[in-house]
Point group: C2
Chain length 412, copies 2
């Protein structure tokens, strides 16, 4: 199995990686997009903070943790209290090298192919804009967010909480597109999106292509987005056009989407067949393992944190974020003693719909000494954030409240 | 009457302005903060786009219109479709020079004095943070937004639609502060906020200070905000601490607030007594004229615009923003024939509360030729956006739908 097509292996995407992964001698011409900077970064010591890569140099540097040029996380201290994650603070996780900026030079010229409908067709982004506009707020979260808390240290980026953000997308509803194409063709069970990344020549495309299938019902609230947080969708986040599937983990939200197909079976792409599956620890992934699709209910505390400076004894505002994937979150409880006793938190700020996260806060008296702060969310379907993570080989979908605890010390 | 204390006279805030306005010979030492850049800019031709001033150089340059170093507007084409205005696109209108960045170096040390309460007290920002957190989405709009459409050309910045944005603020509710201070003292009828700008020596502070009074009831949903759109409140927008009064025009949202007082009368500051009042055209402002407080119901179209590129005949998505000040907006109608016939628009995207704006859209068939697009909003109190502006000497509160029309030409 390739180490490139699945999220569990973070790539610095150097020439060496590609050669190792494909077993082919690729010509230099086939390697455009793989930067020397990334190679230099890989050579740097792990201790030195890595700089932002050029395609993401507009991010707020001091709010981010750069794992590699394609895996960039938001610091736990930088979520803020205002529901929306500014684009400059949104994490990045790319499965393939970011395409050339030329693809956002003339956004309206981008073309999407639609298949598996009664009247297959191609649409330019300009044509899509004329089909209507919708706006949806979603939690975008990497499938591996929280992997860093697995003691088993699964391979892949050791994300803590920051491979997630809550952002507003605008574009055309997939429903409107389906309607324009005469409806979904008979017998289709999946929605399949294909990314427009350029693949190297001479390699089986299925081994590298970012192509994901998800249950057909996922189209209901999906949109094809050309805007993020009020600005044209940046290249770093999939511009000019990205498939947004509310409530589904990041990888299902196909960047630079060039093909949207309704299919009777799941794609044969490796990223679907073997990648992003909940596989028992120590086992090889198989297409029979559950695919990583809907996000489970989850919450974490964002303040106070151990590194927030000196905490004084007394009433303390504890706050965080909570979401339920495809269900709204309905309750958050907070404990200051590691889960022995719980206090109901209140939601504050705007409710941006069921796919958004809610900010919560509770004010508790903290005495001098050490405290273990944890939060536990419940969604409207009755799912409760579990104490323990679901152990799995690649460290996906970690929503354990125990893993997300914060230890703080209050001054005497 | 000074030309400095009221919003109707945009300032480049050069030495000459101060001297002219105060009639005093100020020493160079008293002029720190007034940049030579501003003077150079004033000397530049009106036709050349002005650069962003240093304190706001993080704004999205190509989305902004720089009227002066203290008056910066968002282009009508740059509002986007995602409800929230990114901080990089939020307009700037400063009544006084922006304080030194030193005031945001140690945010927690900022001190607010609270008066006119049963137990007057001072609070550091660190103490305010421990009192609770709330988050509110508001339309922030300059009192003079739309002044540029007055044929009478009132003095002041000729804003079109871009001295407005919809943003999320987080901080402590004023109510919580009042509670901590034992309640509002008896007999108080106004909430008065005082800005922390440094004033030049030897000048009557009342002639320049940014101090505004508003009806006591305004405290109900007001917050003292330390965060804008998920990041620490930038200096350019009033950081470290700003009074946010939802539904009230921009000037009432006091930047760098250093004093919050409950008072029996309105402040004697010139900006209150003579500034920001609805005065009959051709008259001098008097304290008997209505103060510019709550925003009236308003909407405008953001797309398509004449400069949006070539429009093709056929179904066209027309979109815009609408808000009702202290009331939610409940209806928007759109006309493609300058107001002869109207079509109900639909709201789309998240509803962020009654003080936020809503995005609206309607799809109409546009034939080849010229069309005049207008929108008309109605709020939940039944107020309807009027066809005609309320004529007034200084060009405040323009919500005329006719003034906000967009003329587009559709290709044959």
């Amino acid at each position: 199995m390739s180490s490139h097509s699945s999220e569990k292996q973070p790539q610095s995407l150097t020439r060496r990686h590609w050669l190792a992964g494909t077993g082919l001698a690729l010509s230099a011409a086939g390697l455009s997009g793989f930067s020397k900077t990334a190679m230099a970064q890989a050579a740097a010591t792990a201790a030195a903070p890595k700089p932002l890569p050029p395609f993401a140099n507009w991010k707020t540097a001091d709010a981010m943790i750069v794992h590699s040029s394609s895996t960039i996380e938001l610091k736990r201290s930088a979520f803020g209290s205002s529901v929306i994650t500014p684009s400059e603070k949104l994490f990045i996780r790319n499965n393939l090298p970011t395409p050339d900026a030329a693809i956002v030079a003339d956004r309206d010229a981008w073309v999407l192919q639609v298949e598996g409908v009664k009247k297959p067709a191609s649409f330019s982004l300009k044509q899509l804009r004329a089909m209507g506009v919708e706006s949806v707020t979603t939690v975008l979260q990497c499938s591996g967010n929280g992997r860093g808390f697995f003691p088993s240290k699964p391979s892949g980026t050791p994300w803590q909480v920051g491979a997630a953000g809550c952002v507003v997308w605008s574009g055309v509803p997939v429903k409107a597109l389906i309607e324009a194409c005469g409806g979904v063709a008979d017998g289709m069970a999946f929605m399949t999106g294909t990314g427009g990344e350029k693949l190297p020549e001479g390699v089986d495309p299925k081994s590298l292509i970012v192509e994901r299938s998800m249950p057909l019902k996922a189209f209901e609230d999906a949109i094809l987005a050309w805007e993020l947080n009020g600005s044209p969708l940046p290249l770093a986040h999939g511009g000019p056009l990205r498939l947004i599937v509310p409530g589904y983990t990041g990888v299902n939200n196909i960047k630079y989407i060039k093909r949207l197909a309704f299919t009777s079976t799941q794609t044969e792409a490796k990223i679907q067949k073997h990648g992003y599956r909940i596989t028992a620890a120590g086992q090889e992934s198989s297409p029979n393992d559950p695919s990583v699709w809907e996000m489970p209910v989850k919450s974490w505390i964002t303040a106070p944190l151990a590194d927030n400076g000196e905490l004084s004894a007394g009433q303390t505002v504890i706050q965080g974020v909570a979401f339920g994937g495809v269900h709204a979150v309905k309750l958050v409880e907070v404990s200051a003693d590691g889960g022995k006793s719980w206090h109901k938190a209140r939601f504050f700020g705007p409710d941006m719909g069921k796919y958004a996260w809610r900010q919560f806060s509770v004010t508790l008296p903290l005495s001098a000494g050490a405290h273990k702060l944890v939060s536990r969310a419940t969604d409207t379907a009755g799912n409760v954030q579990p104490e323990q993570r679901l152990e799995n080989a690649h460290g996906y979908n970690n929503n354990s409240w125990a893993d997300h605890a914060v230890s703080v010390t209050v001054a005497a």
